[in-house]
């Protein structure tokens, strides 16, 4: 190596202050090992280039030489030179900048890809604007760079730098402060960093002063929000900023605080709302978030929607009042919240109401939302009115009649009791041929004969005569109602009279509800129309309604029709008797109809009304009634015309009594019955049904006259479907073919192959089971190599002998005789001899002279359920990263691909996975169980989707332990998802068939239950947890002791909810599993 060039160089360097040469010489020694001599020369020369830039740039050169040995370690020569050149350029602009650059370099180059180095230098350079302040800023940038580069992806650093630059145009101080804050704040952020920077960027254009406070509040604020929602939240902030809303920092704090107060699962929904609001009036968003916490304390998330949408509507009409609304500073807002918070949603009390109805009726009644009934489109149209179809009670989804939840619940109770009353007290059991109990004369037969005669006369013309003279009617109620010309009036009378009978009966049978019922009736009364305004017929019906609601005093009675009103009251009073049956209602209807139908439906003059009390109208007498009828008939005959008056119109319905459709209920029941006993008689055809429906007074077809035929036929079809009657000429593909069961929206599933089982699934939102929702497919696990099993035993030999010893200790206890008992199976000879001797010696003998066997006979059956989900493939050594299912696709095929991809990276493994430990633990456990002789089964479960819950038999509970089982253990592998509920239910079935007094189910899992359509249903992430909880509860109800062991450290979050008061344990250290599992089991059964 020639030294000449170097000597030259040294001479050159000597021109500069001596520090430069010193630094060079010092560095040279270290550099000689890294670079060849040619490279060295280039390196050294670069130093002179730097030093020669400006007066002060020798300082840069000193720093250059100083850091070179460190930088050279990380960079190859070409990159190294590129780096050095960056320094040269910088020193050209400002030597101080270059110094900072070089100082930061050693820790940068080891963390930054070489091609980014110039860009990094460029970032620092761009902050330098030639001023003193900018140079400080730029220097500060290089100073914090090592931290930034180490912790952030480079592009985020770039964005951040450009933000700082943008700020520097406004204020260098702010820029410097943000730079310093950013160093700490940004690395702590996750995916939301990008959104945060974007938001700050948006701020820097306008309210740049706020950027700093945003940096200050962000870390704390964002912690409050669900990880998945932070980006959306920040995006919202950005958009708000862009439309010019001030005080972003406040938005961050307030907003995150508000979101932090509500459950994570609802946060996304709130953000949806915010985004919706943003589109309408951005100013309202901060107000909304600010009030959110207070509002959420008063109402549920569903009710919040109602409140929110009301506010949005208001905003659209009048932004100012809208904003006041969202600030909860307006009366509208306040009173709406008041109503909402006191209102009661059926969903929340459905379980209680259902059991209540079942208790009262003694039948397995379902309680459903009225909307459900309307959706079936079988004749019920009112969404807010309670009703029943004979097997289900339909109640309105929300009650908000009162300012108090308890009162609203009472309302539900009154309504439900009334509906169940229809069943309990036989409204739908009307039987034409069963005698009424309280009315002596059976007028219906007479009327039927009379009518029958007319009918026959008409029919003769058409040529269709029924031999027995009876009219054709499908149902008994239909038969009754067909006796009347004005079916509408007759039906209204029947309804009010039957409801009167029921309400009376309920008050007698359920005195506890009397007061509430009376309150509800009182309320209803206050809303009834004025009797005086109604035409006569309607007025009389209204009078009956009022009396049925317990108003007997001060009733306005038309003076001219005093007698009629009195007799009507008498008729009604007959039904106010515990003994009255539905046939009495029928007879009462008949009588009331005969009176009212003979009157002219004309409005009475105002002065023709007099208030009167009808509490005790006297007893009903057939003679008086008949004489009234004769009188009416006579006047009708004498007046000649039929006395038209106004056409009769139905009264306003009594809201709490709901929709009463006895004919429809009887029809449905009859159709179902006919369906069940096919072959007997002629089934009702669709045409006949349509005819029936058209005649029925219960159907108010809102359709235009022309559409009636159309909608009746739709009704008829729906009703037949409801009753399970296949429609005539149905063809596959018209909706009656095989149902498609393959998506989550589909219906019930069927087990189509051997060893497949169908189970219900608990839907906590509906508070009910989804019937036949999951198919569990039981399969035997493939056999692998028994080497795994034997190796496991070898590896854990010390632990194994310990475990075995522990277990063997349990065993002898069961056979051990216990001596010296006061009482026992037989005499303990030793003790007896002693006692005998004592007696001889005149010493009081010990009376404990018996022995007996330990009474606890160990008889335990246990099922172990191993989680074989994909997540068990995770390596243990490498720390657990959270399993992210959020972006799992919904489509089954894609889901499989996704799962497979997730697993692929984990196939080639040199480390231990969770499942490996599960397997080893199983091996040890089997040894322990075999030594103790408990009856046990080991199963693995996995699956994808509800139609594919896989249940792998590793050792069936009735199977003996053989080599095959050892080989099966080898094949336990991570598979798909975890639908725990169904697997548990199948395990219950397995255990149920065992006759041990002690039954245990041991669930070993590594995380939350999750599956397609099980754990990712939007807001309802809790679905899986709730279903699993219910499955565990079912086990408990069947005297099975469930126990959950999880190795998921986050397990505490959901296990409490999932297991309730049932046993569970979160294993902090997964390595402890092989030891802990058998020990836990021992504890559980000892």
């Amino acid at each position: 190596m020639s030294n000449a060039p170097f000597d030259e160089l040294e001479a050159e360097l000597a021109k500069f202050p001596p520090a430069v040469l010193d630094a060079y010489r010092e560095a040279l020694e270290a550099m000689e090992t890294s670079f060849s001599s040619e490279e060295l020369l280039l390196w050294a020369k670069e130093g002179t280039a730097i030093a020669g830039q400006t007066v002060r740039s020798w300082e840069s050169a000193v720093e250059y030489y100083r850091v070179c040995p460190l930088v050279a370690r990380s960079l190859a020569f070409p990159s190294f030179m590129q780096w050095a050149r960056c320094g040269t350029y910088l020193s050209q602009d400002s030597p101080a900048l270059a110094v900072s650059f070089f100082k930061a370099s050693p820790s940068i180059v080891s963390n930054l890809r070489p091609q980014y180095i110039p860009r990094w230098a460029g970032l620092g350079r761009s902050l330098y604007k030639g001023t003193w302040k900018s140079s400080t800023l730029s220097g500060r940038f290089f100073e914090v760079s090592p931290d930034l580069i180490r912790n952030l992806p480079f592009w985020d650093v770039e964005v951040f730098a450009s933000l700082v630059e943008a700020l520097s145009y406004k204020s260098y101080d702010v820029a410097v402060e943000c730079l310093t804050l950013g160093k700490d704040v940004l690395p702590a952020m996750g995916r939301e960093r990008e959104a945060f920077l974007a938001m700050c960027r948006a701020l820097s254009d306008g309210n740049w002063r706020e950027v700093k406070s945003c940096f200050e509040v962000a870390p704390k604020a964002l912690q409050q929000i669900d990880e998945g929602q932070t980006s959306r939240f920040l995006k919202l902030g950005e958009r708000l900023t862009k439309v010019g809303i001030r005080d972003t920092a406040r938005f961050l704090t307030d907003g995150s605080l508000a979101l932090g107060q509500i459950p994570q699962s609802s946060q996304a929904h709130i953000l949806d709302l915010c985004e919706g609001l943003l589109a309408v009036t951005p100013e309202a968003v901060p107000c909304f978030l600010k009030s959110l916490d207070g509002v959420m304390h008063r109402v549920t998330i569903n009710q919040l929607d109602t409140w929110f949408h009301h506010g949005v509507q208001l905003l659209k009409d009048n932004p100012e009042s809208g904003i006041a609304f969202f600030k909860v500073e307006s009366n509208t807002s306040e009173s709406l919240l008041e109503t909402l918070s006191s209102s009661l949603e059926l969903e929340r009390v459905k379980g209680i109401v259902r059991l209540y109805c079942r208790a009262l009726s003694g039948t397995p009644i379902e309680v459903l939302n009225t909307q459900e009934l309307v959706r079936r489109n079988i004749g019920w149209v009112d969404e807010d009115t309670a009703s029943t179809d004979g097997t289900k009670v339909f109640l309105p989804p929300v009650v908000d009649h009162y300012q108090d939840k308890a009162q609203n619940f009472s309302w539900f109770k009154v309504v439900a009791t009334h509906q169940v009353g229809h069943l309990e007290f036989g409204s739908f059991d009307y039987d034409f041929s069963r005698p009424a109990l309280l009315f002596e004369e059976e007028r219906r037969y007479a009327l039927e004969r009379e009518r029958g005669a007319e009918q026959i006369n008409e029919d003769v013309l058409v040529g269709d005569v029924e031999a027995d003279g009876q009219m054709r009617s499908y149902t008994d109620i239909g038969r009754l109602l067909s006796l009347f010309d004005d079916r509408r009036l007759a039906f209204d009378l029947f309804t009010v009279l039957e409801d009167c009978r029921l309400d009376y009966r309920i008050k007698v049978e359920y005195p506890g509800i009397r007061q509430t019922a009376m309150d509800v009736q009182g309320d209803t009364l206050s809303r009834r129309p004025e009797v005086e305004d109604l035409p006569l017929q309607e007025a009389l019906v209204e009078l009956l309604i009022r009396m049925s609601l317990d108003q007997f005093n001060n009733l306005p009675i038309p003076v001219d029709y005093h007698e009629e009103a009195t007799i009507l009251a008498q008729i009604l009073h007959v039904l106010r008797n515990e003994a009255a049956n539905v046939e009495d209602t029928g007879e009462a209807t008949l009588r009331a109809y005969e009176i009212i139908s003979r009157l002219e439906n004309e409005t009475q003059p105002e002065d023709q009304w007099e208030p009167e009390d009808m509490e005790e109208p006297g007893d009903f007498s057939e003679e008086e009634f008949q004489s009234l009828l004769d009188k009416l008939q006579a006047s009708q005959d004498s007046s000649g015309d039929a006395g038209e008056g106004d056409p009769y119109d139905s009264p306003e319905p009594v809201d709490y009594r709901g929709d009463f459709k006895p004919e429809m209920v009887q029809l449905l029941t009859k159709l179902q019955m006919d369906q069940n006993q096919q072959g007997e008689g002629e089934p009702l055809s669709q045409e006949m049904l349509e005819q029936l429906l058209q005649d029925s007074a219960e159907l108010e077809l809102d359709a235009e006259q022309g559409d009636i035929n159309n909608s009746t036929s739709t009704f008829a079809q729906n009703i037949m479907k409801e009753a399970g009657v296949p429609p005539p000429n149905s063809q596959p593909g018209q909706g009656y073919g095989p149902l498609l069961h393959d998506d989550d929206q589909g219906g019930e599933l069927e087990a189509r192959e051997p060893k497949a089982y169908v189970y219900d699934e608990w839907d906590f939102r509906a508070n009910d089971y989804k019937p036949r929702w999951c198919v569990v497919k039981e399969k035997s696990l493939d056999e692998g190599d028994s080497a795994f099993y034997n190796d496991a035993l070898k590896n854990y030999s010390t632990l194994l002998s310990h475990i075995k010893r522990q277990f063997e200790l349990i065993m002898p206890e069961t056979f051990r005789k216990i001596y010296r008992m006061v009482d026992g199976e037989d005499i303990d000879l030793n003790a007896a001899l002693e006692a005998a001797a004592d007696i001889r010696m005149k010493v009081p003998p010990d009376e404990k002279i018996y022995w007996r066997r330990n009474k606890i006979e160990r008889n335990v059956s246990v099922v172990f359920l191993l989680d074989m989900s994909a997540s068990t493939a995770e390596a243990i050594d490498e720390g657990r990263h959270t399993v992210d299912d959020r972006d799992a696709p919904d489509d089954p095929v894609e889901y499989m691909v996704w799962l497979r991809r997730r697993r692929e990276g984990l196939v080639r493994r040199h480390y231990k996975r969770i499942i490996d430990l599960e397997k080893e633990s199983t091996a040890l456990l089997i040894q322990a169980l075999e030594s103790i002789g408990d009856n046990y089964g080991i199963y693995g479960f996995s699956g994808y989707g509800r139609e594919n819950v896989e249940f792998y038999v590793i050792k069936d509970i009735e199977e003996n332990f053989t080599e095959r089982i050892k080989r099966r253990i080898d094949k336990i592998t991570p598979l798909h998802a975890t639908r725990m509920g169904s697997a548990i239910r199948h395990a219950i079935t397995k255990l149920e068939n065992q006759d041990s007094p002690t039954k245990i189910m041991f669930l070993i899992s590594d995380g939350r239950p999750q599956d397609r359509g099980y754990s990712r249903e939007g807001v309802e992430k809790e679905y899986a947890v709730h279903d699993t909880h219910m499955a565990l509860l079912e086990a408990k109800r069947k005297d099975i002791t469930p126990f959950c062991l999880t190795v998921d450290k986050a397990g505490h979050d959901y296990l409490k909810e999932m297991c309730g008061d049932m046993g569970y344990e979160v294993l902090g250290d997964i390595w402890a599993l092989p030891e802990r599992l058998p020990m836990l089991y021992r504890q559980l059964t000892a």
Partner: protein, 306 residues
Amino acid sequence: MVEAVESEQNEPQFKEYAIEEFLVRSEPYYRPVGDETELFTAAYNQHIPVLLKGPTGCGKTRFVEYMAWKLGRPMTVVRPMDGGRPAQELNEGEVRVPLVTIACHEDLTASDLVGRYLLDSDGTRWIDGPMTRAVKAGAILYLDEVVEARKDTTVLIHPLTDHRRILPVEKTGQIIEADDRFLLCISYNPHYQSALKDLKHSTRQRFISVEFDYPPAEIEAEIVKKESGCNDDQASALAKLGEKVRNLRDHGLAEGASTRLLIYAGRLMTEGIPPRRACQVAIVWTLTDEPELQRSVEEVVSSIFE
């Protein structure tokens, strides 16, 4: 029924009986629902063992007590079996059918029933077990919840319940022929037995089976009134409540409210406890621990009681 027994010295009052001497002396209240008394009397006369089936607290035990009293009454004619001992002369007021009741549990073994050797001051002495005593004394032996007992008890039940009517006493090497008046009666609650604990058919088919259930509402009201001393309205409301709550069997409740519980509630009411509260403690909380179920039953209570 709530009769405060207060002796003048305020000392505890109790009576001791030898097990086979326990006689039901005063008429126990029993309200026949069907023909069960006739059936039992016939079975007794014909030496046919009786199996009483029914849910808890529906009156099985009371029925047996009542029958013991009724059959032991002087006017009852105990018909002699052919070749048996002659009809006894029944003195006025004499009661002859003792009742031996044994509540079975899982530790009850054959020797508990038959007897065992005990040490005496100078040697051992054989002590008859309750079954032996009943067999000798000609009592009605009532094994309550028989399926709970150990399997070895069937060894004793079988020879006693067929035509032999004998009790082998293994340890003493004796066989005891049952007294003519002896009758074995067992009870069994089909509801809460697992398949495991079911009675074996060879055992079952030695008995006639009388099924018990909670009585119909009117009769139950009568019983509740009589037993608890509450008023008519309360009694019929309680009976109604019982009926309604029993509707919830299989909808979460393992067992319906027994007549016994209704009577408890009635007694609390007689003592002045408000009806809703009485039902809550006697019925709702006794029946279930599940909050939703409790609430539902409470709603039924609050509908029925003011």
